[in-house]
């Protein structure tokens, strides 16, 4: 079949739209969706690749005016001292909405408009993609419905407020563990039902062709800017580029324009969760390390690396960070790992939490828990990143405050801030106040927009 005889070194970049990356990718979807996917491929080729009707010009203009691009590349002074290496931060947390997700969401919602669709649906895990989609849909005046697992609704409450405030419907998904995997399945079901007028804005470089390529292209603005910025600021290309990987959209966006720079190491940091081992009996992997420990299979429309049991049943994943908590990964990233171009590593829940606090205290940047994994890697392997590294700050952590306070209290981390201030004002226990405070802060903070 077509997926088997592709040149394994052809990573990307040609106009050959066969939808595979080495042995991965493809279009494994129910027939009812195939025409929509063909239609999307056609729109992607015309508007994105060939800038028909000046689509890309409008996209770039809106990314600048609405999104706030270009996004700065900042030298991290204290981390550079700590690790004795030059550390630069690509500040995607400053993009409107507080994460890289808007690059893709804005691109796809705009594309849906060009295609004449009149309804937007999307899944979300951390709520960042849902939030970005809700913002883009409000901005471009499209009705929008977001599917979100019930576990994620509970642990990412601030983003649920944000989506609702932007006017999106939020529909809880209660099957399974109620996380990203189930949310994607449910959104596909909606799409299969309302396929003629609805566009599914998938949130990462996953799903059937053309999504993995198209989402990567929208996200590649990260590396397009970062590559120029690092040359300007440091006078050369970095020794390494580090990004966290859930589905892999910030990873692919941060890597894309460096893929041909062979001297630049590309490091994808997955969630090690609580353990890399697997509980086959319960069908549970207490991690989300599909690049490091998964194997080839078919899920959500693509052949890729998956957490699955020996029969091919998909295993439930785990991570303290909702945005990394997924059993699959984008097919292009899986391919780049097989060819050796990308190095997969993983960081567990504990190390990610510590890194969250360290970046907050040392650099004044509260990162998303997803992003914190990338910094956990730096802490654990300062010698592996060379003398000059770029780390993508994929998002800000306002949405995570409630979870972080709770998870930190469970672990008794030395680095954790003392929250007894709430007891001093006699307003109940730290946990309660921590939770309420975080919820209010996250939703309220958004009114001020993405930049602060």
């Amino acid at each position: 079949m077509s997926t088997d005889d592709i040149d394994a070194t052809d990573t990307s970049g040609t106009d050959d739209l066969d939808g595979t990356f080495g042995r991965y990718g493809g279009q494994y979807v129910p027939e009812v969706l195939m025409p929509a996917i063909d239609e999307l491929e056609d729109a992607y080729r015309r508007y994105v690749l060939h800038n028909e009707d000046s689509f890309m010009d409008e996209f770039r203009r809106r990314l600048a005016d609405f999104g706030g691009r270009p996004i700065p590349l900042q030298r991290a002074d204290r981390l550079s001292d700590r690790y004795d290496t030059e550390v630069y931060l690509k500040r995607e947390d400053l993009l409107h909405g507080g994460a890289h997700k808007l690059n893709n969401a804005l691109g796809q919602v705009l594309l849906a408009k060009y295609m004449g669709k009149d309804r937007i649906i999307a899944e979300t895990g951390a709520g960042q993609h849902g939030t970005a989609t809700a913002m883009a849909a409000a901005h471009l005046d499209m009705p929008c419905e977001i599917y979100m697992g019930e576990t994620d609704i509970a642990r990412q409450r601030p983003n649920v407020f944000r989506m609702r405030i932007n006017g999106a419907e939020v529909t809880p998904v209660t099957v399974g563990r109620g996380t990203l995997k189930e949310a994607i399945s449910e959104t596909m079901r909606d799409w299969a039902t309302n396929v003629s007028d609805t566009h599914y804005v998938i949130g990462s470089v996953v799903g059937p062709h053309p999504f993995p390529r198209m989402v990567r292209d929208f996200q590649s603005v990260i590396s397009e800017e970062a590559r120029e910025q690092i040359k300007e600021k440091a006078g050369r290309l970095p020794d390494s580029v580090v990004a966290c990987a859930g589905g892999g959209s910030n990873t692919m966006g941060t890597f894309h324009h460096f893929v041909d720079d062979e001297a630049v190491d590309l490091v994808a940091v997955e969630a090690g969760g609580s353990s890399l081992s697997v509980d086959e009996d319960r069908g549970v992997a207490p991690n989300s390390a599909s690049l490091s420990t998964g194997n080839e299979g078919v899920l959500h429309g693509a052949r890729t690396k998956l957490l699955q049991d020996g029969d091919g049943q998909i295993m439930e994943s785990h991570s303290v960070s909702a945005g990394l908590d997924y059993s699959g990964v984008g097919p292009e990233l899986a391919h780049l790992v097989d060819t050796g171009r990308v190095t997969p590593v993983n960081v567990d829940d504990d190390a990610a939490l510590e890194a969250f606090h360290r970046l907050s205290q040392d650099e004044g940047i509260i990162p998303a828990l997803e992003t914190a994994h990338a910094f956990g890697y730096l802490e654990e392997n300062p010698d592996a990143v060379g003398d000059l590294t770029v780390v993508n700050v994929s998002g800000r952590g306002d949405k995570d405050l409630e979870t972080v306070i709770e998870e930190t209290a469970k672990r008794d981390l030395d680095i954790a801030p003392d929250m007894s201030v709430f007891e001093q004002v006699g307003a109940g226990g730290m946990m309660d106040m921590g939770g309420d405070h975080a919820g209010g802060d996250g939703s309220g903070g958004d009114h001020a927009g993405g930049h602060e």
Binding site: P35, D38, R189
Partner: protein, 287 residues
């Protein structure tokens, strides 16, 4: 009997879908037999996959019950070998289970084992014609059929891709969306049937058929068979929750399985009779 034999008969074919192992191995065996007693001509037997993206809630729940009862691909093959029915069995599943079986990342070992236990063909829900060549080749090697689903949204060039690869029958999806019993049958069906009218494979229609009247209308519109899943699984779901109720009331589980089996047989008769009426309703060709 083979699939060809079924469709060569005068009657329209009644093709029920069940998830193997829902809610238990033994009950599910009994339910397949009950459907055959009620007139089933082919069984579409679901091999449950953890991510059933094309199913509505009824079948999603059946899949959960089947997986919880311990259904696996290997047990599924035993299940088919254990079945004491004469009708053809079509395995309905998702591609990852086909792809993983036998550990060589391809469909061949799965098809080989399916042939061994007497399975006649496959419907693989998330495998469009473009990705289906490896499975088609394995089916040819072992003499099994490969059914494709034609949707109301299917474009003409996609129809061609399916026509080249299909065998056994075509599964005409009556409407867009996911599986689930409906009050009304869709009027998209006649249009789809007309588009593939000159194909020389039988056409079976499914998605939403829930009673004898639906069956009648679908067959009178030209279908060679009807496929019914959710309306039957609703009966199993009711029997299962009633069963756990009566069990706690001290009534034996076997009683509720027997009762559910009777209801399935009756529902099967209603659907099969409806389909037969549909054939009689058809305008007689002038001679």
């Amino acid at each position: 009997m083979s699939l060809d034999g079924v469709f060569a008969a005068d009657d329209p074919a009644f093709i029920p879908y069940l998830a193997a192992g829902d809610p238990s191995y033994e009950a599910s065996q009994r339910y397949v037999e009950a459907l055959v007693e009620g007139g089933a001509d082919v069984i579409e037997l679901g091999l449950p996959f953890s991510e059933p993206i094309a199913e509505g809630t009824t079948i999603q729940n059946a899949v959960v019950r089947a997986l919880e009862s311990g259904m696996t691909p290997e047990r599924y093959f035993e299940f088919v070998a254990d079945l004491d029915v004469e009708v053809p069995i079509v395995c309905m599943t998702y591609y990852n289970l086909v792809f993983q079986y036998g550990g060589e990342h391809g469909p061949r070992p799965f098809v080989e084992r399916a042939a061994e236990v007497g399975i006649d063909g496959f419907v693989v829900v998330d495998l469009p014609a473009e990705e289906a060549d490896p499975l088609r080749e394995a089916c040819d090697e072992f003499g099994l059929d490969l059914v494709f689903i034609v949707a109301p949204t299917t474009t003409d060039d996609r129809l061609e891709a399916m026509r080249e690869r299909v065998s056994g029958y075509v599964y005409v999806q009556a409407r867009t969306g996911v599986t689930g019993a409906r009050e009304d049958v869709s009027d998209q069906t006649a249009a789809t049937l007309a588009r593939i009218g000159d194909w020389d494979v039988p056409k079976a229609v499914g998605f939403g058929i829930s009673d004898g009247d639906h069956a009648e209308r679908i067959v009178s519109a030209g279908a060679d068979g009807i496929i019914v899943g959710s309306a039957l699984i609703d009966i199993i779901a009711e029997g299962t929750s009633a069963g756990s109720q009566t069990q706690s009331d001290g009534v034996a589980e076997g009683d509720s399985v027997a009762e559910t089996a009777q209801r399935l047989t009756a529902k099967a008769r209603e659907l099969k009779d409806g389909a037969i009426r549909g054939l009689q309703d058809r305008p007689q060709p002038e001679q």
